[in-house]
Subunit: 355 residues, 2 copies
Amino acid sequence: MGRGRKSPVATGKPTIYDIARLGGASPSTVSSVLNGTWKARRISEETARRIEALAGEHGYSPNMQARGLRRAQSGLIGMILPLHDNRFFASLSQSFEVNARERGWCPVIASTLRNPEEEIRIVKTLISYAIDYLFIAGATDPAALGKLCAAAGVPHIFIDLPGDDAPSVVSNNFGGAEALSRKLRELMAPQGDDARDKLYFFGGDATDYATKKRIEGFRSVELTYRDRIDNDQIISCGYSPARAAREIEALCDRLGGLPSGLLVNSLTAFEGVMSHFVRLPPDAFDHSVVGCYDYDPFAAYLRIPVHMVRQNSHGLISRAYDLVDGGETRPIIVEVDAELIPPQTIYKNPLSELG
Amino acid sequence: MGRGRKSPVATGKPTIYDIARLGGASPSTVSSVLNGTWKARRISEETARRIEALAGEHGYSPNMQARGLRRAQSGLIGMILPLHDNRFFASLSQSFEVNARERGWCPVIASTLRNPEEEIRIVKTLISYAIDYLFIAGATDPAALGKLCAAAGVPHIFIDLPGDDAPSVVSNNFGGAEALSRKLRELMAPQGDDARDKLYFFGGDATDYATKKRIEGFRSVELTYRDRIDNDQIISCGYSPARAAREIEALCDRLGGLPSGLLVNSLTAFEGVMSHFVRLPPDAFDHSVVGCYDYDPFAAYLRIPVHMVRQNSHGLISRAYDLVDGGETRPIIVEVDAELIPPQTIYKNPLSELG
DNA sequence: ATGAAAGCGCTAACAA
DNA sequence: TTGTTAGCGCTTTCAT
């Protein structure tokens, strides 16, 4: 395979030169037929058909590296996120990909495992592959990544955690936490024990943007019930189930039982909480209400009722693509509301029906 | 930016020509320094340092399209799978990506939404991007995809569903279903009602390879308890939660209650099953045992005990990379065992601690 | 309506 | 120890 002088189609992938020789046409004619610009070049319908047939027969497919090199763009659209193995991010991935393909882009999704150096390395790699656009979701250092993209001339957008040099689409974390806190507060039945009768905010990382906003929402509600927030009401012990299990046990020990209200800030922390809860007698939950920021269909069916907040991952991605389509580059922030889901409710995700 | 005649570094990404001019060296020297082959070319340490410094200053990063075009390989490794938004596949993605990066590859993960035409289109796209290797996980038509890859000279490996023209790494579905069926059978307490005292296999697609194998495992156990399998014992109603909810309700109506034993063949079907179960009184489950093929941490904590099978997604991917590393191309089949997980058990996934 | 030729950024012979 | 050069497969003027 290869240039005109080489042997006829035998092994490897055919190029436009092969098809050109086979079809008695020039490489440029073949090129324009095969990339759909032949009408503009006023190639005859007949030639076009002949070339297309030939290409089909020989299983021609364009070499995107060559095309990209020449056109100075790749057709790739990148997204980085912390990890695949997480309901929220996996759902972002799914929407990201479907939207990308609808627009003729080839999506490349990379997970950083929340490692800041890896994050940088991966973005550099994606830039090396000449991605045409980058979605930055849940980065540990959005600003640094934005800078890298800007230096390389790669347009980008921030998802979930905002950046400052490009548009951002973020969940309304304040509103979601407010709604969940309010619901839990409404259902809380004080037991006459000051330490237990507070609403506790549990899990997550208080230095990350989303958690900060959620804590603000939580505070705004809690302050309508009490005149101050105690330090011990906010236990941001990270996302690890194992850590969460230890911390919730410590809390229950300290309180001499469950708190009247508990707002868990992530599904993974909630996993840890549950691993402790199952060891308690059923009546331990009689005077407690529990909520979780993030949704899981099975968490909806636990032995204790769990109020949940479902982030609108599809909405986040849709709004982001709206901005991409509109060529928005200013550092505006778009907020997308989250949704309160009562216990024992299955949220119907159209894609989840695919199992 | 660009060739020697162009203006100095100002806008866009610098190329080796820019660095060469700035460093008073030739493009090929710069090239070999920047791609790490400079020792073999016996470039002086001093030159190498100088070039590297310059590249750093100017934020040089190689153009992988150009490199790939020249080297006839891209550094990309692809994987296709049905969907991101699924615990098992998301877990495959995570392992696939970590392993790829350890080996210096750039992973590209594509989801097909179980659409056969999309599957083909996506594989063709990946081939256009000159991926160096393809992981084919859970394809609807593995053979067709294998053929495409073969034609393009792309080495590939099948995950979960085997193909016939390259190595395959699959879950031991027979063994997993056998173990789960046996466990359920051990715990089943006959109620003296022939229709209810059977073990029912519920959900999934009986035409897909994995489900077929699981049904075989189920049958082998069930036949040690009964002398025949009735047609109505196998209800492969797909993966949709909505469909599963309807079918389980129909089954319970028909039996006048829950079956003594139920083996649900996927988490998504189990979601549908649960949405029916929560409407039943608690004592409805007193004489039933329930199992689910696939693991979910919250399903472990439901109000009814659920025995689960956790597929070893990390093991599948590890074994696959072993074969890749070993250059295996023969159509061998490697089986990886699945693991029975008792109710109320959290399987500790090292990556899940990242939340 | 089509062909010839230059060049995208990089690598790898081959020279020196 | 380093430079020169051809060419990877494609697109795109510019000719014809």
